[in-house]
């Protein structure tokens, strides 16, 4: 039981780390520009597909990763330049509509280029296999590597945002954009930077998760919704909030799915418990979100009231 708990806890943290990578860019986009981007999940998906392609082309995971990231960055800049730039001053509704259209275009584009059969990416030899953790527990090295990478990225983001000039502008922009703009900062340029960087982080999450998940055109949608929950819980514009909420959502979701049925068995018969547990577990994070909102409508770390 304890072993299972530790394993699932690690799985939950790993999911949380991925969610954080996707959420970090998106929460800044929401926070700084008050811009709703439905298409952010698509970048995660594109990251995974680019990775799958470049692994086949180069035959080397470590070569493919930076190439895929560069391609994702270019793709992000292209989207910013052609579409997003025209939407900043529009209503939320127009933003929803245009980015929703973009989701359809990119998703179909991916299906046209790569087909609708899921792709898979092999785990690099260096990180394959499992290592013993505590006693008899084995855990895949690659998943530990994901957690480690995510933590390093989180630390890097923390340093950039709290200890550099760009980070200072980002924080200022998130709390009061008109004022930052009035002080002579080119907010448009700042946003292009945030957008491209956020796109790359999302694509990075997609690329490193590709070896443990199958790469398909539906992966963007599922992660997008979870990311929204993360951002709402953490508070829009807060990287710290995104980190805490992402880990929280990852752990609650994973533990709920594995332990929900087990806990329910204490109060009902096993078959009913597994049925009820499987039906209710996916709802846990939404209930968590509702509770957080009931107590703090601006999210855990959101300074600005919604």
């Amino acid at each position: 039981m304890t072993n299972l708990l530790i394993l699932q806890l690690l799985n939950g943290v790993q999911l949380g780390i991925l969610l954080f990578l996707v959420a970090a860019g998106l929460t800044l986009i929401f926070g700084i520009m008050d811009f709703i981007n439905i298409a952010h999940g698509v970048l995660y998906m594109v990251g995974a597909y680019l990775m799958a392609t470049f692994v086949v082309i180069t035959g080397n995971f470590w070569l493919a990763l930076p190439v895929a990231m560069a391609a994702a960055l270019l793709f992000g800049l292209l989207l910013e330049y052609t579409i997003f730039r025209r939407l900043y001053e529009r209503s939320h509704l127009d933003q929803v509509l245009a980015t929703f259209g973009l989701v359809m275009i990119v998703t179909e584009g991916v299906r046209m280029i790569w087909g609708s059969t899921p792709l898979s990416v092999p785990i690099p030899a260096l990180l394959s296999g499992s290592i013993p953790l505590l006693g008899i527990i084995q855990y895949p090295v690659y998943r530990l590597a994901i957690i480690g990478t995510g933590l390093v990225v989180a630390l890097g983001l923390y340093l950039v945002i709290n200890h550099t000039r760009t980070g200072m502008l980002l924080r200022a922009g998130a709390s009061n954009r008109p004022m930052v703009s009035a002080l002579g900062v080119n907010v448009g340029q700042l946003f292009a930077f945030v957008f491209a960087f956020g796109a790359m982080l999302a694509a990075f999450a997609g690329a490193i998760v590709a070896p443990v998940l199958s790469v398909d055109s539906g992966m963007g949608a599922s992660v997008l919704i979870l990311t929204f929950v993360v951002i709402v819980i953490g508070g829009i514009g807060s990287i710290k909030g995104a980190f805490v909420a992402a880990i929280l959502v990852g752990v609650v979701d994973t533990l709920g799915r594995s332990f929900g049925p087990i806990l329910l068995q204490m109060v009902m018969d096993p078959s009913a418990a597994s049925q009820t547990g499987r039906t209710l577990a996916p709802m846990l994070i939404y209930i968590l979100m509702a509770v957080v909102l009931a107590v703090r409508p601006a999210g855990l770390f959101g300074g600005r009231p919604a």
Binding site: V96, F100, L102, F228, M283, L293
Partner: protein
Amino acid sequence: MSDAAARRPRRSGLGLPTRHMVAGALFVLLAALPFIATAIGDPFLVVVFTRILVFAIAALSLDLILGYGALVSFGHAAYIGLGAYCVGILSRHGVTDLGVHLAAAIGLSAIFATVTGAIALRTRGVYFIMITLAFGQMAYFFFVSFAAYGGDDGMSLAQRSTVFGSDLLRDSTTLFYLTLAILVGFYVVASALVGSRFGRVISGTRENALRMQAIGFRPFRYQLVAFVIAGCMAAVAGVLLANQAMFVSPAYMSWHRSGELIVMVILGGIGTLIGGVVGAFVVLLLEEWLAVFTTHWRMGLGIVLILVVFFSPGGVSGLVQRLFGGNR
């Protein structure tokens, strides 16, 4: 905030009498459709248009909160699904009466809308959009993992709902007229609603919530009631959809569906009520038409969407108005 007014969704400018005339003409034309279908020897048209009318009802209900309240609900398809599952689950247990199905659908969606609406309405802007989307997905995943009633695969219905024990609705034309009658009824109710004191409070809150509070209203209550009414109307559409397709599936409530409903309202002209109906025709016929050419029709729809946002604020009715000049 000064840019709040500038950023609120634009309303189409067709005048009210014109709108009612357009609506009336459209409804009369639709009433003649089954005869036209028989005349040109294509009875399948009736089936296609029943489906379109179902989505027209859902889009109309969304326009009530989206157009008049500026509440961008991205989880509206959940109510269609709830309505459809009321038919599916009750039928599975031998309750086939349409009245019971409708009552269950309306009751269940009213509860769901009250609870989720009360939470979502505590927030504004992007928060509201994300939260309604999340609750919509919650309902979606609930039914996806509800293995007893088909789970991801959905469930087929053995028969359509019965009306006082008779299987009237087995005839597709009868179902078509029932759907049309409900659409017309909802249009009349919704028009009366937006013209009433209640509707004015909703529109007033859209313009400036603070001022509404200052003159003594509590916008939250009005918005919540509007949110619940819209949810119940969409659930009725769900009951009809289950009957039309004789199939119930979680796909009815996926976020793509919610997005499409918003698209319908915008394309048809937001805040006009009839716009949602027109939008449902435009989107679904566009889908059918694009699907003839390519399996990748979604890409075409996406391109149309971006072009509309960039070049034609106000959707189709805004375009019509700009081409032919409005009467306002």
